[in-house]
Symmetry: C2
Subunit: 509 residues, 2 copies
């Protein structure tokens, strides 16, 4: 420890007379840093305020103010008539680690921070979620241009006019009761699900539901049947719980249950998107649904149904949810308002089977504190007054139109370049690429032209035999879709020509 | 399997002609249930629509609508000119488990649901968090009566007038940048903490911060130094991570670090409330702070500083935060807006040391989706315009007055009954009970008189040698505090008399 206490050293304190901060604040901060640096011996005397004021060329009041503050914080002891001393409390502080360079070098030289092994292992498996730019063909983007913002704002304003105690206090960690009731009614009327509001837990979006489900139901090493390709965020949540993903192919009937039984009959959980497979867009067949339910029952496993965009169905009588045929209470149904209303709400829910209600309640009351009250109350109001159902009906038409625009533009412009696969549900479909193209190259070139196309590969845990792009059609108006298709056509043609040129030059070489 | 297909069985379908639901919907639901019950053999023929309509006394259109719907859902096959059949898909369904009684009996007879062992073990250790009723002497309740709701509502309304894309879309999972910046500025000016906004992660309240910290830093079996008595919610979060709590006594200088070193020198994390110990109200001494930092450095452990109500200090120059003297980057500082603004916001944050920023970012981008945008933006606005600082200054005066009211009323009314311990910070203090009293009995009797007093015991992991009640003084106006003290006095006197009578009768027995 360098003994530098005394008048001289304090000249090293630098004050900036042009700064906004008062000199006494600057002096306090500089002394604070010096005291914590460990360079001053506890018990050693500080210069008298008069001396320091002279040395630094500041008023004595400035120095006294800084000393007073440091004394109040316990860093120095002021003994009346006997001067100020470096506090003995600082002797409990360990001497600073030797460091040749600056702070950043010292940081770089430190061993890596100690974190939980499970998280360390999980981070290697995390997949990057997709960005959400408001342009063609970003996925999972509602039509913000068609959102009834004025109506919404009126409901928000009305909420803040209610009695303050009700709007300010702690809410139920399970969620706001009228919202849970409204969701149960909506699921009964629209998704074929009969349930009690007590089975519904309001959470900060579907992602929080996956986190919570992973935390409560999975332990390290548990096998999870996962669609391949499949949803990225849900997978990260389960991986984060230490579970082992079992990638199962998706065919025209949905998740290949038979393959799951072959690879891992002792699975603990299956994650599926039956209404509109994420990302392929397939609807799971009824037979396959029953096979999955049967397999879960045999293995005493859980099924998570992510109904992320199933509300938007353009066909006549779509297949209902998996939950609606779940007579054995195996399915945890996860819903979100990110697509039906908007993502910034951060509002979703898990509908759990009766036998799981009590454990979810215990966990919620132990260490969940629920989501903010105001969005919950406003959405409940919106639902009860019929605005929610009306909004979905309206958006269904808008999305159907945008989908038709994509299909028609693709038919005219992308023939032979990209095969856009028909869908009857949701906010996106996929386009299959010809053999010569590579997903990442197309995505990169498209991005330069300000078009977003997500390669299927980004959704994969294991390689698949299809090459394609995920095309969101919901977020931008028809004109932008048509323009986007034209650009995508140019990109694909350019790449095709480049490929042909390369091949020609190889032949002649 | 009972073979009941044919005309007759369908008479068992019950329709309610007085219900709001259309008959075709009722019929569809009843048939749906019957088909899923497994009682009908796949491939067997359903009655012709004309026959069923006659049997049920409904129009043929009603039956056709229901059949169409079920056919679309794949539950029945309609062959033109050949009638309708129970779908073969149902053969993939397992026969229903035999059940003698009703649904609830069947549920009760099931084996307990499979959940993660860690959660199963944790639930036994969960403590009940305290209720939040707006009455004397509920803890952790801001003065809702003094909240500037009109000003707040104007900021909310202004927010919803901004461009829709900005207010509706996905936000940064780490939090809204202007809010992180505003918090960093606030911490620098008011809590003595120099930090970069990138170190701040916005979360759904302090509780979510504890969950996330537990998840990232703790693994099953890790030792956590925990104040005893201590914060309930934080403890539940760490217990939920499978960590083992090491209860450490709290003396007049705060957590007994020496005892921690004796019991568990290999601790992984220490949880402390240095500004105002939860619940005892002690401020951790500077010497103790350095001892703790030193111990953490020696063990390569983390420290979580929960500064839940440290903003409300009534003294002249209070000791700053532990984080402000953390030169070794050991401390994760957790802040909340639940006390400074209001709990229904569900807004808090974790300030992590530089070496933990990247792992928190990776986890956030993998499976956090952030909190709603609107409260974040409104609070950022509130802070940047100075309303937040002004609000805290104003509330500090109000809470100081309420605290003085409690002290004075207690001095006059509770002498010899309850010793109210002085505090200089926060929203609550404690009252020490005389030997004859039992915490739970007083709390129960007080509750009957509509007064909330939380027994110290509820905050304990291991028994302590003090008996006392936690008294919140922030949530109700001075008049209610005085009235509450009077009632508490009556309760204590009554119990004292009862105790004396019991003892007298024992002597004479």
């Amino acid at each position: 420890m360098v003994k530098r206490a005394g008048g001289a050293l304090l000249l090293s304190l630098e004050l900036d007379r042009d700064a906004d901060e008062p000199l006494s604040t600057q002096l306090r901060a500089a002394l604070h840093k010096l005291l914590l640096s460990g360079d001053l011996q506890p018990g050693s005397r500080l210069p008298a305020s008069r001396t320091l004021a002279q040395d630094l060329g500041v008023s004595r009041t400035t120095v006294i103010a800084a000393y007073d503050r440091l004394a109040a914080e316990g860093l120095i002891d002021c003994k009346v008539g006997a001067g100020s001393y470096v506090s003995d409390a600082l002797s409990a502080k360990r001497p600073p680690r030797p460091s040749a360079g600056g702070a950043s070098e010292a940081l770089a030289a430190r061993p890596p921070p100690r974190i939980a092994r499970s998280v360390e292992q999980a981070t290697a498996q995390f997949h990057e979620r997709l960005p959400h730019q408001p342009r063609a063909f970003t996925t999972a983007m509602p039509a913000f241009d068609a959102f009834p913002l004025a109506l919404w704002s009126r409901h928000v304003a009305k909420y803040w006019r209610t009695r303050s105690e009700l709007v300010l206090g702690y809410g139920d960690p399970r969620g706001y009761w009228p919202l849970r009731r409204a969701i149960a009614a909506h699921l009964g009327a629209n998704r074929g699900i009969a349930c009690d509001p007590d089975q519904i837990f309001i959470l900060g979006g579907a992602q929080e539901a996956f986190n919570l489900i992973g935390r409560i139901l999975l332990e390290p090493g548990d096998k999870v049947w996962f669609e391949n390709p499949g949803a990225i965020g849900a997978r990260n949540s389960f991986v984060g719980s230490g579970a082992e993903m079992v990638p199962l192919p998706v065919d025209r009937e949905g998740m290949a249950v038979a393959e799951g039984l072959r690879l891992s009959p002792d699975f603990r959980l299956a994650f599926v998107t039956p209404s509109h497979q994420q990302p392929l867009g397939v609807t799971m067949s009824l037979r396959r649904r029953f096979e999955l339910l049967h397999a879960a029952e045999a293995a005493d496993a859980w099924i998570v149904e992510d109904d992320y965009d199933g509300e938007f169905c353009y066909g006549e009588h779509p297949l209902r949810t998996l939950k609606s045929v779940d007579t054995d209470d195996r399915v945890i149904y996860v819903g979100t308002f990110s697509k039906t209303l908007f993502p910034a709400l951060r509002l979703g829910y898990a509908l759990v089977p009766p036998q799981l209600v009590s454990i979810f309640e215990r966990v919620a009351s132990a260490f969940l504190q629920g989501v903010p009250s105001s969005p919950q109350a406003v959405v409940a109001d919106f639902m009860e007054q019929g605005h929610f159902a009306a909004h979905i009906r309206r958006m269904r038409k808008i999305y159907a139109e945008r989908y038709r625009t994509l299909r028609e533009a693709a038919r005219q412009r992308l023939a032979g370049l990209l095969e856009v696969v028909p869908t009857e549900t949701g906010l996106h479909t996929i386009g299959l690429l010809p053999d010569w193209a590579t997903e990442e190259e197309v995505a990169r070139w498209a991005d330069r032209r300000r078009i977003t196309v997500a390669p299927l590969e980004r959704f994969c845990i294991a390689p698949i035999d299809r090459k394609g792009l995920v095309l969101g059609f919901s977020g931008v108006p028809p004109s932008a879709i048509t323009a986007g298709v034209a650009i995508l056509g140019e990109v694909l043609e350019t790449l095709q020509e480049m490929r042909a040129e390369r091949e020609t030059s190889q032949i002649w070489r």
